[in-house]
């Protein structure tokens, strides 16, 4: 939490609009002055990778504003993401009353909105606890056991595809929602309502750094609260999967944690996995030799997903707040400063990856991408990987060739997730 990271529920339209407009106006103004982070956050007519070349080399951490630091270095990014002093919220600011960001604010806009602090404000310790508690449901081994079931969901969808369809709205997202609903045992009759609500949460990752419109903000909050209320009711009524309910061990903390785990999985998981599936399929489509590799050996689907996570990731920017004065990547960072890792830039660090600008699923680089290493996304990494791999496998084996049937449309103001709205394609061959 930073001083100007407000909970929209607590503010009138007048104040909230002013907050959103001012942050966005300041991003735009700083973008006009050539500040790379501002150009990224305003997310209009810019290819992020066109900015990264000039940001490479020493120092690895660059000062973007008086108290904002940015890196595209893989080693620095790795260190920052695992640095426990760099958190989601600054303890001092978390206690203070939040204020909207205005033109006379004596600070820089850092984190913009708090959608749900108990879910998205979790720090390293919270995450460790969450992992430990829910590992038997959402951990790598647990989701791996469900691989066959997930594969079935996507195989069924892929089997129905023919002619023109939308990769996002006709395949990826509905498949992801079904698979995730199966995972937590969401009752069938509640699924249409969930599918409707989750559409309102598309900006959930972006809203931390890039202000949505006023209407999108209100919808985001209403949708998120709707999903939360639905899950609370199902947990209370013991109507979710037994494995999930078993994690609630009678303590209040465990109830809160299980709810957080379900929210992260259902909300963040839906969007990260759906975007990842589409971008994997699109990347393979653009490189027919890579498409053919997966078609010849479907077990490479997981490798294709990993390479997409590196090359065109569904999470592009990670932001932390220094909880104390600290030395980060050799530089002194003050308590309360913002430290930003440009994940898509770090994933193409030429010091670490050979030929970083090429999409190649058979990579043997020793280093891995950083895409799913940020705090809220780290939790959903295992399930996202399984869903994306199985969806890619099902599509590439089910459809011999794919052609574009129109332009890919992404949502505005989506610098973090690069959320895809539509992806019209045609099944060929």
């Amino acid at each position: 939490m930073t001083r100007n990271q407000i909970d929209p529920r607590l503010f009138s339209d007048s104040d909230l609009a002013r907050h959103l407009l001012t942050v966005r106006g300041v991003h735009w103004m700083n973008g006009d002055r050539g500040v790379p982070l501002a150009l990224l956050l305003r997310a209009q007519g810019i290819d992020p990778h066109s900015l990264y070349e000039a940001m490479r080399g020493q120092p690895a951490l660059r000062q973007s504003d008086i108290d904002v630091w940015v890196t595209v270095s893989h080693p620095a990014g790795t260190a920052i993401l695992s640095d426990r002093r760099l958190t989601r919220r600054h303890a001092r600011d978390a206690r203070r009353r939040k204020r909207i960001f205005t033109l006379d604010a004596a600070t820089t806009p850092k984190h913009v909105l708090a959608v749900d602090d108990t879910t998205f404000g979790l720090d390293h310790d919270d995450h460790d606890r969450l992992h430990q508690l829910t590992d038997p449901v959402f951990g790598p081994a647990a989701v791996n056991l469900r691989r066959g079931q997930v594969a079935g969901v996507f195989a069924e969808r892929a089997g129905d595809l023919g002619g023109e369809f939308d990769l996002m709205t006709g395949f990826a997202r509905p498949g992801v929602i079904t698979a995730l609903a199966d995972l937590i045992g969401l009752p069938v009759e509640t699924r249409p309502r969930f599918a409707e609500l989750v559409m309102g949460t598309v900006p959930v990752l972006d809203a931390l750094l890039c202000p949505p419109t006023l209407a999108a903000t209100r919808r985001l909050i209403a949708s998120f609260d709707g999903i939360k209320a639905m899950l609370v009711e199902l947990l209370d009524g013991r109507q979710l999967a037994d494995e999930v309910l078993r994690r609630v061990n009678g303590t209040e903390q465990s109830t809160v944690d299980v709810l957080s785990a379900c929210l992260l999985t259902m909300v963040v998981g839906t969007h990260v996995a759906s975007n990842l599936i589409c971008d994997t399929v699109l990347a393979l489509h653009r490189r027919p030799d890579q498409w053919d590799l997966v078609r010849a050996d479907p077990s490479l689907a997981g490798a294709a997903v990993e390479e997409t996570l590196r090359y065109d990731p569904p999470v592009r920017i990670a932001s932390r707040i220094a909880g104390e004065d600290a030395e980060v990547a050799g530089l002194r960072v003050n308590a309360g400063d913002q430290v930003v890792v440009l994940l898509d830039g770090a994933n193409r660090d030429p010091e670490v990856f050979a030929d970083p600008g090429t999409f190649r699923i058979t990579r043997t680089d020793p280093a891995a991408h950083l895409t799913l290493d940020d705090l809220p996304t780290r939790f959903v990494a295992p399930v996202v990987r399984v869903l994306a791999a199985e969806a890619t496998r099902a599509l590439v084996t089910g459809v011999s060739r794919l052609d574009m049937a129109g332009d890919v449309v992404r949502y505005m103001r989506s610098p973090v997730a690069g959320s895809m709205a539509r992806c019209p394609v045609k099944a060929g061959g």
Binding site: G25, W28, M29, Q44, A421
Partner: protein, 427 residues
């Protein structure tokens, strides 16, 4: 008798632009108040009009720069580029301009405390008409809150409306997921504070008024579909005592040199010294009246045919001038046109200065010298041209006639009274 509330942000040029119309209203028997920032109050009262202080001091000149932010770019910047160039940048440009406008620029010029105070005053005083400076967007909100009619007063070419036209066209061409619209959020927030729910159908009036009062000569004005009342700009130059030399006929052609921000920056930099500029111009057989303050003058030697003053009442000086060098600020070029004096325009970068220079050149009433091409010699050459070639004087006389043909502030009062009757309580 109507109650008319003018509102304008704390800028001398924008305040001076409302004075003649405000006095015409007063002379027609209406009650007139001018609402502005506290740091405009002395200027308002110096014009003889009653002032209402609203909001906090704006401090256009200072503090924002101190915070390392944006004073210079707060007003326009992107809008002063040629229109073709703006259109080439398409959606990203128009979206960027309104994003900056709603988040930074317009918000800075009339912030929440300014709007709140104005609404409060308007609800208490109950004006029949609010006339608002085209960048002082508290006006329409206060009018809606109090049930007044409201008109927008332009101070130059209507770049706001042109941008809005471009915005709407390009907006319609975006896929729905990309249809970003900062204006909706801005209006929604501002109206919700006075308990009014924003509807998209209200946008045009909130941005451009129920009607527009346009002091630009019609041959210069941009094409518009907005309801517009054309008005002759009658220059107001501030409190003035006329020095006696102003009305003695000069022996040599008299030239007035007045410096805009561009010129002041050039002179302040290493490129050109004031002394060199004055010496070079003085080589012409002219009497040069140069407005320079002590800091600009520095230790420059002043040639015999140069008179340096720190202020000249242009309206009184120009009848005796053969040419004027200026930055094409609204007040300045209106003075030049009113007196039929040919111009050399060294345009400022704020609003329509470059375009006005281009239009004068097109009509043969002056020449433009781009700041990037400025040298004392280049200015001397252009000045010699417009002094020697009588066609410039002739064409300056033509645009003078065009200006004088437009109805004066006095002439348009009955129309404004009628429009007020039709629109009051409608917003």
């Amino acid at each position: 008798m109507m109650r008319v509330l003018f509102t304008v942000f704390a800028s001398k040029a924008h305040m001076y632009n409302v004075v003649s119309l405000a006095w015409a209203m007063r002379a027609a028997g209406h009650e007139v108040y001018v609402a502005g920032h506290p740091d405009l109050v002395d200027m308002i009262t110096s014009t003889g009009l009653p002032a209402v202080a609203v909001g906090n001091a704006l401090d256009m000149g200072g503090s924002w720069q101190g915070k390392g932010t944006w004073n210079q770019e707060v007003l326009s910047r992107g809008l002063s580029a040629p229109h073709e160039e703006q259109l080439r940048q398409g959606w990203d440009h128009v979206l960027g301009e309104f994003t900056l406008a709603c988040g930074v620029r317009y918000e800075f010029l009339a912030d929440q405390s300014f709007v709140d105070d104005m609404v409060k005053f308007a609800c208490a005083w109950q004006p029949d008409l609010v006339v608002w400076d085209a960048l002082t967007f508290a006006g329409p909100i206060a009018a809606i809150a109090s049930g007044a009619a409201h008109a927008r007063l332009l101070f130059g070419l209507d770049y706001v409306n042109r941008l809005y036209d471009d915005f709407r066209q390009l907006y319609d061409r975006q896929p729905p997921e990309q249809q970003d619209d900062p204006l909706t959020d801005w209006f929604t927030g501002r109206l919700s504070r006075i308990g009014v729910e924003y509807q998209p159908s209200m946008a045009t009036e909130l941005l451009t008024g129920q009607w527009t009062i346009d002091p630009m000569p019609s041959w210069m004005a941009l094409p518009t579909k907005l309801p517009t009342v054309s008005m002759r700009a009658v220059p107001y130059n501030g409190p003035t005592t006329i020095p006696s030399w102003v009305y003695t006929r000069p022996d040599k052609p008299r030239v007035c040199l007045t410096l805009g921000v561009s010129m002041r920056e050039l002179l302040g930099g290493a490129m050109v010294s004031t002394g060199e500029l004055l010496t070079t111009l003085a080589e012409l057989d002219i009497e040069l009246i140069a407005t320079l303050d002590a800091s600009q003058l520095d230790s420059a030697k002043i040639p015999g045919n140069v008179t340096v003053v720190d202020f000249v009442p242009l309206n009184e000086l120009l009848p005796s001038c053969s040419a004027i060098v200026h930055q094409a600020g609204f007040g300045t070029h209106t003075n030049a046109v009113t007196h039929g004096v040919p111009s050399i325009v060294i345009p400022d970068p704020f609003w329509d200065e470059a375009e006005c220079g281009r239009l004068f050149e097109q009509r043969g009433a002056g020449l433009t010298l781009a700041p990037a091409e400025f040298t004392p010699e280049a200015l001397r050459t252009k000045l010699a041209t417009i002094l020697e070639d009588p066609s410039y004087r002739y064409h300056a006389g033509e645009i003078q006639q065009d200006l004088l043909a437009a109805p004066t502030p006095h002439d348009i009062i009955p129309r404004l009274e009628e429009l007020t009757r039709l629109n009051r309580g409608r917003a």
